[in-house]
Symmetry: C2
């Protein structure tokens, strides 16, 4: 069983992008070495990264740039080396190293992949994918970095969720820059978490 | 100078009510004595409570009911004894003990009150009031209780905010029920917080 998690920066008011799809509000105003160490750790674990088209195109452009390689060499190295899946009906090809383009339904494909053995999977950004897979009960863990900014209007990660669902707090951790990492797992009725 | 704070329960996806104005998703599934102690503490500090009409009507009905007085006697006592202001152009009168009805612009009235001496003020619920006063830079502190529930659609506290603004993390605290209290203060350009 491969586990599926999401890792997202969200504003205090709960959005992962602003109304125009911009995420620059999430950029730290100053360096936060503790957060950098955490990001480096997370990005070099070798899991499979999962994207929708919009986040994929943004990240593929960013992490392969000389700028990103200079500014955050370890994270860029980890991102570029990781196996990746992008879900898109419109992309003709996906050239970022290690990417497999999947044109079929994300829910069916992820359900299939979770039955296989292999590295764990992590969704970054990609609100429409998070929304669909959450509603289908396929996400095992959520990591939210709450950025200390109010943006007013934006896109939610859960905009197609119709039935409210509880999740289980696993831990919270404040970083020196004022970001707070909230880690949740899927709430299993009866209270027992799967191993 | 009277300080103005907000105290709000929000879903993981950042909403303070669902799309129909319902807040029952925020009710703890089980008792959390640590959170109860915190609520009791907060509600008996004697500050002035600030409301918009919708939250006022809901809370006035709830906290004066025999049910609330039996279930949470200290919190009900504190709520009923506190001085209160409700902003509404449509209410004819406001009968909950200690309430003053204000029919003029909340921004102007709060600006005036903050110049006076007197108890600190705290907004509960009342998204449209939070939104207006945030945009006007009048809120000194934010306390959010992040409830471990995803609700998908709802109302944001900041829906009329047009220009994103940073806030400063003061502390984070996880409660046994999986709620996380995030406390922020107004970010003052240059970094110094007012005393």
């Amino acid at each position: 069983m491969r586990k599926l998690s999401v890792f997202e920066s969200i504003s205090v008011d709960g959005f992962f992008t602003d109304a125009e799809g911009d995420m620059s509000w999430a950029k730290p105003a100053e360096r936060d070495p503790e957060l950098d160490a955490f990001s480096k750790d997370s990005s070099t674990r070798g899991g499979t990264l999962i994207f929708g088209r919009v986040t994929y195109e943004m990240m593929a452009g960013f992490w392969t740039s000389d700028m990103a390689k200079q500014m955050m060499p370890e994270v860029a190295g980890g991102m570029n080396a990781s196996p990746k899946i992008v879900f898109s009906k419109t992309l003709a090809s996906a050239d970022w190293a290690g990417t497999r383009l999947v044109k079929t339904d994300p829910v069916a494909e992820i359900r299939r992949l979770k039955q296989e053995s292999g590295p764990d999977m992590c969704i970054l950004g990609s609100g429409s994918i998070v929304s669909q897979l959450s509603a289908a009960g396929l996400i095992d863990a959520y990591q939210f970095v709450v950025v200390p900014v109010v943006i007013g209007k934006g896109r939610s990660l859960f905009e197609t969720v119709r039935d409210p669902f509880p999740i289980k707090l696993e831990s919270s951790r404040a970083f020196p820059s004022g970001r707070v990492l909230l880690t949740y797992s899927k709430e299993v009725p009866g209270g027992k978490q799967p191993g």
